[in-house]
Point group: C2
């Protein structure tokens, strides 16, 4: 077993891949299911998302940190934590995690991970993996960012407890050193480029929400694709079974 | 002006690029000139290096941390600090920084940087750059490592003092956050994968040497290429003029 880390995606992935976007998509995704959502689609294509919305899906997400015109809700966990989504289905479009889905979607098992669902992701990933677990940061505008690097470090630490004999790549050890350097995850999120961005647009509450470690047991797992109207399909996610 | 950071090389570079290898090649390179060396060649090709040695160049470097057979000296700054190289020329082969030279060598100005010569590299880079400075880590076995990420953070901080209006990329801000997280650079080098490796082979002294910040004013700059006998040429370095 090998635990590998990419601060942003490189190459392709085969076995279990955890796509990490702490601020904010992979914090929001488990939360949506906690709020009662039954189906979640992610897509990097605004056109595909709008077409799904025309068929009755709620439209969630952001362009440059805030909801775009016609969106039902933004990408704000602090906002979504207060709404009831029972029985609804939603399509979410945002700028960091979804752009990488075409690159990671061919792996055997694709999970969405953050600090918020870290322990549960560790449990599912360790149970599912046959040969390797790739911890893949979404970064910010294509570059590595501290929030996701810290998330990779936390997941690597949790996986290390479950898979003590797994080999850890150099970048995994790098991520673990960040976890030690930032004993308070809030500090790392606050300093990240994404965190600065959110603070500038008045969304400090989202940074605080995303710093809650292992508060959710929901692990969104890729379960299928559906053709989209735009340049990318809809990637369909459902909660993975909790291996306990 | 734009300051960009790659924790390992991606793409190509145009203007000023600082290739960073704190443990150990870019710490050793300035030291060699301090010890009197007149000409330094780097190459990733052991065969090219051996051919140069057959023509009278000293052969320096390592394979897996220690000098290979027939090498005059290893890649150990603690060792090299004690020898007199007056009037000599040397070819150095090692596993991290040299492998990237074919990728970075077409930039207008290629410098070798580390903690050891950081202030001087900042001065030369700021004086030479027209549009951009790329801080490029060598990493360890192709993956990002903490020693070079910290080096990039230190160089970014020093460049920020000289070029206060320069734009800083996301990864540059990531590197700066590491610099703040590790106020004692020794701690970061100690935790890096390269640092672990050196400690395991008994070279703790090299980690300590490489943690000396801005102790050297020598900035090795790429000045030419010479055909090699192996798969890669010799890349020739000489000290850049100190802009003061």
């Amino acid at each position: 077993m090998r635990i590998h880390t990419d601060l942003t995606p490189t190459g392709t992935y085969r076995d279990v891949v955890v796509l990490i976007d702490v601020l904010r998509t992979c914090t929001v995704a488990p939360l949506l299911f906690e709020r009662g959502l039954t189906e979640l689609a992610l897509t990097p294509s605004l056109r595909s998302a709008r077409a799904a919305a025309a068929e009755g899906w709620l439209l969630l997400g952001e362009r440059q940190g805030v909801p775009a015109e016609g969106f039902n809700f933004g990408n704000s966990p602090a906002e979504i934590a207060a709404i009831d989504l029972s029985g609804k289905r939603a399509v979410m479009v945002s700028e960091n995690a979804p752009r990488w889905l075409p690159q990671v979607a061919d792996a055997k098992c694709v999970l969405l991970g953050s600090l918020y669902n870290a322990a549960a992701v560790g449990a599912v990933a360790a149970a599912q993996a046959q040969e390797s677990i790739d911890l893949v940061g979404s970064g910010f505008e294509g570059e590595p960012d501290l929030d996701d690097a810290l998330g990779a470090g936390l997941l690597a630490a949790l996986l290390g407890e479950r898979l003590p004999t797994a080999a850890r790549s150099g970048a995994t050890r790098f991520a673990l050193s960040l976890l030690r350097a930032f004993p308070d995850p809030m500090e790392a999120l606050w300093q990240s480029v994404a965190g600065h961005y959110l603070r500038r647009v008045g969304l400090e509450r989202d940074v605080a929400f995303a710093a809650r470690v292992s508060a959710s047991r929901v692990v969104p797992q890729l379960v299928g694709r559906q053709p989209g109207a735009g340049s990318a399909p809809l990637y369909l996610f459902a909660p993975a079974a909790d291996p306990g």
